[in-house]
């Protein structure tokens, strides 16, 4: 209810209610946030003058891919990272389908060469080991050295693809080598 006391607007159950001015700095934060929001929306969603998170990611991913390739297969981490990159995988798959299928089968299930989709590896199934096998080969056992033929980039791409096929266990050639869990 209304109050007669000076400076008091209402009284409810003996609680007095004053009616002071809104603090200016508080109003500034309110309107500031509203103006910022309008500007943000305008930039991002009306004029498209700023990159969306997805566009930003694509650019970063591109740069990151370049960084990984440039540093070469210096560590397992690099190769594993590449083996999760859809673009690298599709390039790697192209290489595989032209240069590797003859001995390893359409999907790596093995023909003359070993099955690449099981858990068994003759020369090691770790990322760097796979890369080295492709790059330097084991000529005495029928595996060519593809490094000089394909070039570093393609070897890296196809290594990434092969790494992504591990443990898919496609029906194919019987396991060879030692089991890696």
């Amino acid at each position: 209810m209304k109050s007669d006391r000076p400076g008091v607007l209402h009284v409810f159950d003996d609680i007095e209610e004053a009616d002071n001015h809104l603090p200016l700095w508080w109003l500034a934060t309110l309107f500031g946030a509203i103006v910022f929001s309008a500007g943000y929306w305008l930039m991002f969603h009306t004029m498209h003058q700023a990159k969306s998170p997805m566009e930003e990611y694509r650019e970063e991913a591109e740069a990151h891919r370049a960084q990984l390739k440039q540093s070469g297969p210096s560590s397992d981490g690099v190769l594993l990272a590449l083996s999760k990159d859809p673009q690298v995988l599709s390039e790697g798959e192209k290489v595989f389908k032209t240069s590797c299928v003859a001995c390893h089968g359409q999907n790596g299930e093995g023909v003359v060469g070993p099955n690449l989709t099981d858990r068994f590896w003759i020369h090691g199934g770790g990322p760097l080991a796979v890369h080295a096998s492709i790059s330097h080969g084991y000529p005495d056992k029928g595996m060519a050295a593809w490094g000089p033929v394909l070039g570093q980039e393609k070897v890296t791409n196809v290594s990434a693809w092969v790494l992504a096929q591990r443990n898919k266990n496609l029906p194919g050639k019987a396991p060879q080598g030692t089991e890696e869990p």
Binding site: I15, H64, L170, P171, A174
Partner: protein
Amino acid sequence: MISPTPQPANAPSPNTIRVEYDDTTVRRFMFASVLFGVVGMLVGLLAATQLAWWQANFNLPYLTFSRIRPLHTNAVIFAFVGNMMFAGVYYSTQRLLKTRMASDALSSIHFWGWQLIIVAAAVSLPLGFSTGKEYAELEWPIDIAIALIWVVFAINFFWTLAKRNEQQLYVAIWFYIATIITVAVLHIVNSLALPLSPLKSYSAFSGVQDALVQWWYGHNAVAFFLTTPILGIMYYFLPKAVGRPVYSYRLSVVHFWSLVFMYIWAGPHHLLYTSLPDWAQSLGMLFSLMLWAPSWGGMLNGLLTLRGAWNKVREEPVLKFFAAGVTFYGMATFEGPLLSIKSVSALAHYTDWIVGHAHGGALGWNGLMAAGMFYWLTPRLFGTKLHSKSAADAHFWVATIGIILYLVSMWIAGINQGLMLKALNPDGSLQYPSFVETLLAIRPMYILRAVGGLLYLGGFLLMAWNLIMTARSGKAVNGVADVLRRADAEPSATAFDVVKGRPIWFSVLTIAAMVAFGMASSTVMAVVMIAVLAVIGEGAYLLSRRDKAAGKPSWFTLVEGRPLAFAVLTLLAVLAGGVAELLPTILVKQAVPETGAAQKPYTALELQGRDIYVREGCYTCHSQMVRPLIGDTQRYGEVSRAEEFIYDHPFQWGSKRTGPDLHRAGGRYPNLWHYSHMVDPRAVSPGSNMPSFEYLASMRLDTAIAPRKLAAMQKLGVPYTNADLEHALETQKAQAEVLTADLKTQGIELAWDTDLTAIIAYLQRLGRDTGVPLTAPPPPTAVVPPPAPAPDPAAPVAPAVPADPAAPPAPAQPVGGAP
């Protein structure tokens, strides 16, 4: 209208009546809140202990972290704060409206019904009955009970408003009205589900839509269950306790309406960088930023009411609790908008920073406000004085230190782990490829957090003792007041006066212009709309100034005298944000067949496994959402896409990564790895704090229900054919047997119809189209072409390449490790 001077009790005028308030209900709710506060915090302390020492899971399903965590959140939110809120609402509403609650029977039903719901939750959650949606885990029969009891509360409350003896509604009542209406809307929409059995249902929404509805609910449960009712309570009890006028009525008006309007829009800030459309993410972020000032309006009105009375705050424990509670509210509502900024969220989301933020609100705001109110109420409800003021002081300091330990440890843990997870080496590879490494780095903080929680609980127990001793020193008394009967005649203003009120039309125009601005495709249109908004704002300001100078009564005064109009307007303000965000996203459903054509539904076994994933609460520690951030994609794989989730009823994106993301886990590890990891996580992932789920190996799957599950999903729009349903039992068994046969080749005997088999099948399916094959592949030897003397006749292991041994076998890495 009533005269402002209270009538002396000994000279009753014909219009004066004596009112005895129903304080029995208040006492009940208060002690229920104290009791469930202890329970809820005790469970929280257990959960905190489990995160630091996995042994505290005790290998018991009912005590496993992932089932205990929903119990903790539900107990604290709905049992502790819920009962506290009802105590405060019942006490203050009767006094602010100068009337007893309309119906003692409804009050009683409300109280006992709510406690029954709490007991049902306390039993069903540890047993694993869960919908898998955070803070809404309770299954459908309990959801219906909640809705019914809430309606009982609403009827009782609005009926009391109808028979009130005070024409105008005080700001506390506004907040109660907003609470009652909005919680009802949120709860009903988010709980929409298709029941499968008496204790199991599937969310009516799926994937992105389910995520949006869930966080519209989840965020606003914080807003309208943990915030608005407590603001109302603050507006009553704080000025009462300090005996000073509330700082500003106009601040109340501005911050109330802006708060209820803006809060609803902010839900998507829980889904930044997910598969939610970017426009919705931006709305979530921007409305969170704009929400900062309205939230601080409440804090300011509280703190500035204490202005000039800080000497009292030093002496009176009640005021200490209120002052600190309001300050923590201010802190949490500053941190909230900060965390909603996309780039901050990129670091902080899924980390303990969010956990700390939630507890800044729960322990700091809710817990301290509850304590202040209890210390103030108990002596008055029992006609005595507080048993021990120094114990209350001690409680305050212990609680404050506890909160600070909690918050600081979670800040450090969250930021530290967030940075470690995204750190890259100069060559571009992950600096900390093993997830467990980052978890071990913050383990000291987990221990510190448990200590903080322990302190807080200790203080709370001290309060419980103090309140009980206080109650025992007095006896229950009910408040009595002589009040002037409100004139029966309705106020001169009519409904028409409300509707033609200028603020309504300005609001409608503003929202229309806002929508037009948001949807504008051309810059010119958008700028025009900004100009229109500026004109509307300026016009409203000038006209209201003119009216004020002319001494015209404000429209707000009018509405504040008409509860029905007030409630309807609040509902409209709240619905605006919900409709604007949910509707477009739900209408997109029409487009799903196109975008999701390639998506294959789960097999019967995978669906069963998914239900176990939900039952065990895996989402409490694992997300299923790879965000478009290098740190995420490097560690987990390809960015998650919206269409991959269209058959997920409910979605399981999660909100915290105590373990790694699982969306691309399918096919990454062999079945044996999963088996070993579930039975003894530390066997394959040393240092992990995941509980053992060995018990899943001995739990038998309800295999017979599979066809009914597929049928339920079919009803929800998942494209299973009738043939799928008919053959569900066979395919379920066949796929399970492929899996167990594979395990058997490695010496593991697992029955095909166990929960463990099903959950492994589900995990192997995550993030890809094919999981465990439905039929066993023919033995490898059968396919081998007649072996010509091959160049590599079972060559012995010859790691001729020097680099070889450096590489550890990838799948043996800890979870989320190098692969």
